[in-house]
C-alpha cells in the first residue's frame, strides 16, 4: 500500500462577507472551498480542473496555509499543517512550494533574478533551517545551477523581471520554487497566461523536472487538454466541491458525473474533422454564486440529469471501481432515485436535517 504524501480531509475555506462601516459584522460567507478530501501520492501529479470561481486556486492556497482554513485537516508527511506551530510550519513548508499563474505579478519587479531565486535559500539559511548551511558563494552557485536547469542563461542573473518575456519569467518562478528542493509543488495555472508555443516548452520542462527530482505536483488548470497531458490523477471541482476524482485515463475515457461529461464535451479539440462531428452537451446558465449554504447537490441548477432527490440531498462520494469516485446520486448502487417524487424527497430531507 502506497503512503500518501499529502492527505486533505474535509477542507473548508470560507471568506466572510461583512457589512457596516464601523461596526463590521459578518452577514454571510463565500464558500470558496466547501469540504474537499483527497490523497496525493509521492511522484504523481494530481490535476485539479474546473471553471473560474470553483475554488481550485483557493484549495491549493489553503493547503499551503497561505489562507488559514476554516475547517478540515491537511496532513503533509505526517504533520498536521492546520494546527502546526510556526517553527514546525516553517520546516514543513520548505518541502511545499508554489508556482503562480501570472508571471508578471508573482515576481518582485525591484529584485534581480539572482535575488528572486536566492531569496528562499537566504531566508532558510538565516534561520538555520538548511542542512547543511550554505555560504554566500554556495548560494550563488546554486542559483546559477537552477537557472541553467530551467533553461535560462546564467549571464542574465543580474537582470530584472521586466527584461524577460512571459515564458522566461515563468521559468524564473519555477527556479525559485525548486530552490529549496521541495517534495511537492503546487502549481496554480502555471501555463494559462502563456502563448501556445511557449506553453508546450513549460509543460515539457515541468515533466522533466518531475522525473529528475522525483517531485509531486498538484497542478491546476482550466484547460482540460493540458490537465490530461500532465496528470496521473484528476479531480474535477465545481462550486467548492470535488465532483469526481479518478485516474486521468479513466476520467477522460469514461466520465461519470454529468458535469464532467459536459465539461469534456464543451472543450474544443483542435481538429476540424473531429470537432464538426462531435455531439456537444451545452450546459445552460452560469455557475451560481457560492455565497449561500446548500442542502442539495451543488450542480442541481444546471444538471441535465437532475432528479427531485438531488435538490435536497448532498451526494457523498460513491466508489466506482478502483480509484474512481464520483459525487452523484445516479451512482448510488443501493437505491434508484429516479422515481422518488419531490414530496418524498423533501420529507426525507426534513427527517435528516430538521
Amino acid at each position: 500500500m502506497k503512503q500518501p504524501i499529502l492527505q486533505v480531509r474535509d477542507l473548508k475555506q470560507h471568506f466572510p462577507i461583512t457589512s457596516g462601516m464601523i461596526l463590521q459584522r459578518q452577514v454571510g460567507a463565500i464558500r470558496a472551498v466547501d469540504g474537499i478530501s483527497f490523497d496525493v501520492f509521492e511522484g504523481e501529479t494530481l490535476g485539479i480542473v474546473g471553471e473560474s470561481g470553483c475554488g481550485k486556486s483557493t484549495a491549493v492556497r489553503s493547503i499551503s496555509q497561505l489562507y488559514k482554513p476554516t475547517g478540515g485537516s491537511v496532513i503533509f508527511n505526517g504533520i498536521e499543517l492546520t494546527t502546526a506551530d510556526p517553527k514546525t510550519m516553517l520546516t514543513a513548508r520548505r518541502d511545499i512550494q508554489m508556482i503562480f499563474q501570472d508571471p508578471y505579478a508573482s515576481l518582485n519587479p525591484r529584485m534581480t533574478v539572482r535575488s528572486i531565486i536566492a531569496e528562499p535559500l537566504v531566508i532558510y539559511n538565516r534561520r538555520k533551517l538548511l542542512d547543511p548551511p550554505l555560504s554566500k558563494l554556495e548560494i550563488e552557485h546554486r542559483v546559477e545551477e537552477l537557472m541553467e536547469r530551467v533553461g535560462l542563461s546564467k549571464v542574465f542573473k543580474n537582470r530584472y523581471p521586466h527584461e524577460f518575456s512571459g515564458g522566461q519569467r515563468q521559468r524564473i518562478g519555477i527556479a525559485r520554487a525548486l530552490a529549496l528542493k521541495p517534495k511537492i509543488i503546487l502549481a496554480d495555472e502555471p501555463v494559462s497566461a502563456l502563448d501556445v508555443s511557449i506553453q508546450s516548452q513549460i509543460l515539457n520542462l515541468l515533466s522533466d523536472l518531475q522525473k529528475e527530482f522525483n517531485l509531486t505536483y498538484i497542478f491546476i488548470a482550466h484547460d482540460l487538454a493540458v490537465i490530461q497531458h500532465i496528470s496521473t490523477r484528476v479531480a474535477v471541482m465545481y462550486l467548492g466541491k470535488i465532483v469526481e476524482i479518478s485516474e486521468a485515463v479513466r476520467l477522460y475515457d469514461n466520465p461519470l458525473h454529468p458535469y464532467t461529461t459536459a465539461l469534456l464535451s464543451a472543450a474544443p479539440i483542435p481538429d476540424p474533422v473531429v470537432e464538426r462531428n462531435r455531439q456537444r452537451i451545452i450546459l445552460t446558465g452560469d455557475v451560481p454564486s457560492p455565497d449561500r449554504e446548500r442542502f442539495g447537490c451543488y450542480f442541481y441548477d444546471r444538471c441535465p440529469k437532475r432528479m427531485p432527490w438531488c435538490s435536497n440531498h448532498i451526494p457523498p462520494m460513491f466508489k466506482q471501481g478502483e480509484n474512481h469516485e464520483v459525487a452523484c446520486w445516479l451512482y448510488d448502487k443501493t437505491r434508484d432515485y429516479q422515481d422518488v417524487s419531490m414530496e418524498e424527497a423533501e420529507a426525507d430531507a426534513a427527517k435528516t436535517n430538521p
Binding site: 501556445v196 515539457n204 474533422v273
Partner: protein, 344 residues
C-alpha cells in the same frame, strides 16, 4: 472550390500595413496583410500575442490610436469603397452599423454607469434613422431574447455589473448585431470565459451568423475554437499572414513550419498519450521592432535555409486557395535569385 468561396466578396483587404512609432523604433505591427471575406463566411485569424491579429482588425475598423499608430498602406474594399480612405464622418456610418466588433473583455467594453437599455438604445438610434426610443427599446429586448438572455424585458434595465461574464458577452453580441451588421469582427470573444460558457457563446455566434447571413472574422489564439467555427483560417506571425487555407486543409496538411509546430504543440484530449513529450517550438516570438527583411520565423524554424536568413518568402499558392509564405515551396532558381538580389 468550396461553395463559400464562390459567394460575393464583402470585404477585400489588400496589403494592409499598420506601423507604430515608438522611442525604440518603428513597430511594424501589421506588414502587408491581405485576405478576402465572403458573404456568410467565418474567417479565423490565429496567432500568438503580439503577432498583429488585433491590430489588423482595429485598422479595418479605423480604431488605431493615432499617434502613435498609423495605417501606412493598403486598402480595405467594403461595398465598393476603400474604407481606409473614408473620412471620420463617413466611417461612422459604417462602423457599428455595417461592420460591428465584439471585444475580448466584456466588462471593460460596456459602460458601467449606464443601464444596458440606455447603451443599446443609443446604438440603435444612432444607426437607424427615425426610430423612436420606444421602438429602439423593443428592438433591444428582441435582440437580448435572440442571444438567449432570460426575462429580457426586466434585465434590459439592469447595469452591466449585474450580469455575469458570459451574459455580458451575450449583451455585446446583441448590441453588435442590433443594426443587422454585415460583418462581425470578434476579437478573442471567449478568451475571458470558461469552457462551458465558451461553448454557449460560440454556438450562439455560429447560429446567428447562419440565420442573418453575417460574415464573421474571429480572432483567437485557440486552435480548438478555430477548428470548430471557421471556414477559412489565416495564421499570422510577426505582422504577416504566413499561411492561409480552408480549415480542414490547414489542420490536415499544415504547410508552414510554424503552423505545423503550433498544431503539434497543443496537447489534445482525444489522441495525446500519457507520458509523451509535447512537440515544442524552441525560442521566443520575435521582437517586432525593426525586423530585418528576412523570414521572422527563421531563428525558431527547424527547416531554416540560407535564403530564409536573407529574404522574406513570397506567397506561394499550393492550389485550392491554400497559400503559404515559406521558401520550402519555391524552386531552387527562385531561392538563388533572391539570395543574389540580397547580396547585390
Amino acid at each position: 472550390m468550396s461553395p463559400v468561396n464562390d459567394r460575393e466578396v464583402v470585404l477585400d483587404v489588400q496589403n494592409l500595413k499598420t506601423y507604430f512609432k515608438t522611442d525604440a523604433g518603428i513597430v511594424k505591427a501589421v506588414d502587408g496583410v491581405s485576405f478576402t471575406l465572403h458573404k456568410g463566411q467565418t474567417l479565423g485569424i490565429v496567432g500568438e500575442s503580439g503577432c498583429g491579429k488585433s491590430v489588423t482588425n482595429l485598422s479595418i475598423m479605423r480604431l488605431i490610436p493615432s499617434p502613435p499608430g498609423k495605417v501606412v498602406g493598403g486598402e480595405a474594399i467594403f461595398e465598393g469603397t476603400d474604407i481606409l480612405a473614408l473620412d471620420e464622418k463617413e466611417m461612422r456610418t459604417i462602423r457599428g452599423n455595417k461592420i460591428s466588433m465584439i471585444f475580448q473583455d466584456p466588462m471593460t467594453s460596456l459602460n458601467p454607469f449606464l443601464r444596458i437599455s440606455t447603451q443599446m438604445i443609443e446604438t440603435i438610434r444612432l444607426h437607424t434613422k427615425g426610430i423612436s426610443k420606444k421602438e429602439a427599446l423593443e428592438r433591444s429586448i428582441e435582440m437580448l431574447k435572440l442571444v438567449g438572455i432570460p426575462s429580457a424585458e426586466q434585465r434590459v434595465h439592469a447595469y452591466p455589473h449585474q450580469f455575469s461574464g458570459g451574459m455580458r458577452q451575450r449583451v455585446m453580441i446583441a448590441m453588435a448585431l442590433s443594426c443587422n451588421a454585415e460583418i462581425l469582427i470578434a476579437d478573442e470573444p471567449t478568451t475571458a470565459l470558461d469552457v462551458t460558457i465558451q461553448a454557449q457563446i460560440l454556438e450562439l455566434i455560429q447560429n446567428l451568423s447562419k440565420k442573418m447571413g453575417t460574415s464573421v472574422i474571429i480572432i483567437t489564439h485557440d486552435l480548438g475554437v478555430v477548428a470548430g467555427m471557421c471556414d477559412e483560417v489565416c495564421v499570422m506571425y510577426a505582422g504577416r499572414i504566413v499561411e492561409k487555407a480552408e480549415t480542414e486543409k490547414l489542420y490536415a496538411f499544415p504547410a508552414h513550419p510554424y503552423t505545423e509546430g503550433l498544431i503539434r504543440s497543443v496537447p489534445r484530449m482525444d489522441t495525446t498519450k500519457k507520458g509523451q513529450r509535447l512537440y515544442s517550438i524552441e525560442g521566443q516570438p520575435p521582437n517586432v521592432i525593426d525586423l530585418p527583411p528576412c523570414c521572422p520565423f527563421h531563428p525558431r524554424c527547424p527547416k531554416a535555409m540560407d535564403v530564409c536568413r536573407a529574404s522574406y518568402a513570397p506567397i506561394t499558392d499550393l492550389g485550392g486557395g491554400h497559400e503559404v509564405a515559406c521558401w520550402l515551396y519555391n524552386s531552387e532558381e527562385e531561392k538563388a535569385a533572391a539570395l543574389k538580389e540580397v547580396q547585390a
